[in-house]
Symmetry: C2
Subunit: 373 residues, 2 copies
């Protein structure tokens, strides 16, 4: 295999595929990227079994020549090393030339590196063909799911199922749900009537796909029993699904509401952020007190002192209520809603409460209060 390639395009491809190469690889061959050149162009594949990314670079893009002076073939090269080398080279073009299937020579006019490489047959067979149910989403729709729900999935591996984003399509809706058991986020999108599936995709893989979608208009998602496949313009991402049944979250959303609060999102977020400085004894726990006399956020430390902020603009309906919560949970819910005014619906002191965008009911955030003594 041999080719001379535009360095920036090559680096972009190496960076994308490298995202699937783990820092510590369990299987030595997966420290490599698979680099294949055929009549269509260059394919670069990286994998850590859980996640596989294959990206494509054509010979030409529009009128611009990307590769020249080429001979088809394939090889495996240490992903971290080749990516770092191409990043630090500074010529406009880079030449890669595989000699005797064992040495890859990467060079420009003044620099030359000879890297040990491995025959492509050593790389595991990874199936990247779309199978199962397929659904197309625009970049905006996909990003809204990720930015409004992914943060609420668990990052602890004790209950693996909670690290997933539960995707459920039925009756013309796609519902994305995440929960770490102390809070929940749910986003509902309208889709074509005839699609039905349930899949638990690792939430961090959804974030990864969203990041890789930059500059892409849409993604095609294929879901089969064990894996999800995301097809972008030039890149395919395959990820395993999380095994097990997703907890039943249907009954978590309160049906009634005894207290209603509407506030300016930014004013509330700043007040929570400031008072949290004093929530030292109970880490990140602040109190929200509401009554006919006003709404205030407060926190107290026996050692250091206390802080309190009265909200200036609010709408409150209900009797007096004081509720304590993890400020990080409410702040991330507010950030995810990304709107001017947020509404809260409370049932009682110790019942999960609802946080919503006052003008968009496609997304809902649920937070469980913290018990105070």
């Amino acid at each position: 295999m041999k080719f001379t390639i535009n360095r920036e395009e090559f680096l972009k491809g190496l960076n994308i595929a490298s995202r699937a190469v783990a820092n510590k690889v369990a299987v030595a061959v997966l420290a490599n990227l698979k680099i294949e050149l055929d009549e269509r162009g260059l394919f670069i594949t990286g994998s850590n079994y859980d996640l596989t990314i294959r990206t494509f670079i054509p010979y030409k893009s529009e009128a611009k020549e990307i590769m020249r002076n080429y001979k088809e073939g394939a090889t495996l090269i240490n992903g971290r090393i080749i990516t770092e080398i191409v990043r630090k080279m500074d010529a406009e073009e880079v030449t890669l030339d595989v000699i005797d299937s064992t040495i890859a020579v990467i060079s420009d006019t003044h620099f030359e590196s000879r890297l040990n490489c491995v025959k492509p047959e050593e790389y595991p067979d990874i199936d990247l063909e779309p199978t199962g149910t397929e659904i197309k989403l625009t970049k905006d729709a996909f990003s809204s799911i990720v930015s409004q729900t992914a943060f609420a999935a668990s990052i602890k591996e004790q209950r693996p199922i909670l690290t997933a984003m539960n995707l459920e399509a039925d009756s013309g809706s796609l519902v994305a749900t995440t929960t770490d058991s102390a809070r929940m986020a749910r986003k509902v999108l309208k889709i074509a009537e005839n699609i039905r599936f349930v899949a638990n995709v690792p939430a961090k893989m959804m974030v990864e796909v969203d990041r890789l979608m930059e500059g892409t208009a849409a993604v095609s998602v294929s879901l089969s029993d064990k894996k999800a496949l995301f097809t972008l313009d030039r890149t395919i991402i395959a990820t395993r699904l999380v095994a097990g049944d997703y907890p039943n979250t249907k009954n978590i959303i309160p049906r009634s509401c005894n207290y209603f609060l509407e506030v300016n999102a930014s004013e509330l977020a700043k007040a929570i952020d400031r008072t949290t400085i004093l929530s030292i004894d109970r880490e990140n726990v602040v109190d929200l007190s509401m009554s006919e006399f006003g709404v205030e956020i407060s926190a107290k430390s026996s050692q250091v002192g206390s802080a309190v902020e009265k909200l200036e603009t609010y709408k409150f309906e209900g009797q007096s209520l004081k509720i304590s919560f993890n400020s990080e949970f409410v702040l991330s819910a507010i950030r995810a809603l990304n709107c001017e005014d947020v509404t809260f619906e409370f049932v009682g002191e110790m019942k999960p409460f609802v946080v919503r965008n006052a003008s968009d009911d496609s997304v809902i955030q649920i937070v469980t209060p913290v018990r105070t003594y």
Copy 2:
């Protein structure tokens, strides 16, 4: 004590003094900042014994009113907490009011925090009066010393004296020297004839003073037996000196030179940076080979492969020589020289070599080669 103060000016002062407050304090009272208001204005002091910073905020700066509605007094308040609170407040003015010497109320129109505070008498007495020899340096002169030598001091505490910057004034010169025993940096500045002193100032404190000098035109440095005092416009910094005798570095600079190399600094730095990717077996060690046929930088790993770069523009005098060095040492020496062309003077394969700015002889960098087998 009571005052209403421009929030940004207050925050600037708190940030400066907080730099001396350690994350983990050995003596509880030093977790506090000392905040004192007298007829001159507001003084904020932070200390961890090794380093003390006192900064000053006047009642007015030029025509601008900074404080109003004030009553003189003093108190001690947790430095991390008050700085974080004032950073996250968002009104233009902040009011601090000490009630009964035990509670400091920090407030603006909508936020209020009540912090436990301590009587000012609890704070240790720290002498910030200049004594001993005094020398005035411009910001540029001080910064050149720091940027060209501080990096070569040791960061390990095994031999504390090597963490110092050795400052020696005599016969109209101020000489700053740092060494971690594998490399050395020296800067010579012209000063007034009649000043003589020797002092070993912790190199990281010199970096700290340089950072605090932003916006200041000059610094006055006072050196006594045990401490150095740096006086800026509104801030005084006191630091202990490092005890012990500084190693004799006079004989480290080679007197003769058998090989001479002049190269473009940026071309060389990039070549070293790229080839270092392959210096995996011997961490960060690269080879520089020079002969009548050319000059090249190379590195090799038995596992991964090799890299080599020929320099395009150079001047070399001498017979063939191959020398191995820690690439990080040579890169930081080149960065510190901050010039277009650098020169190297070599005595032999295993002798310390000199790196200089081709057009500025006030600074010299010495690097010891690495033995290769």
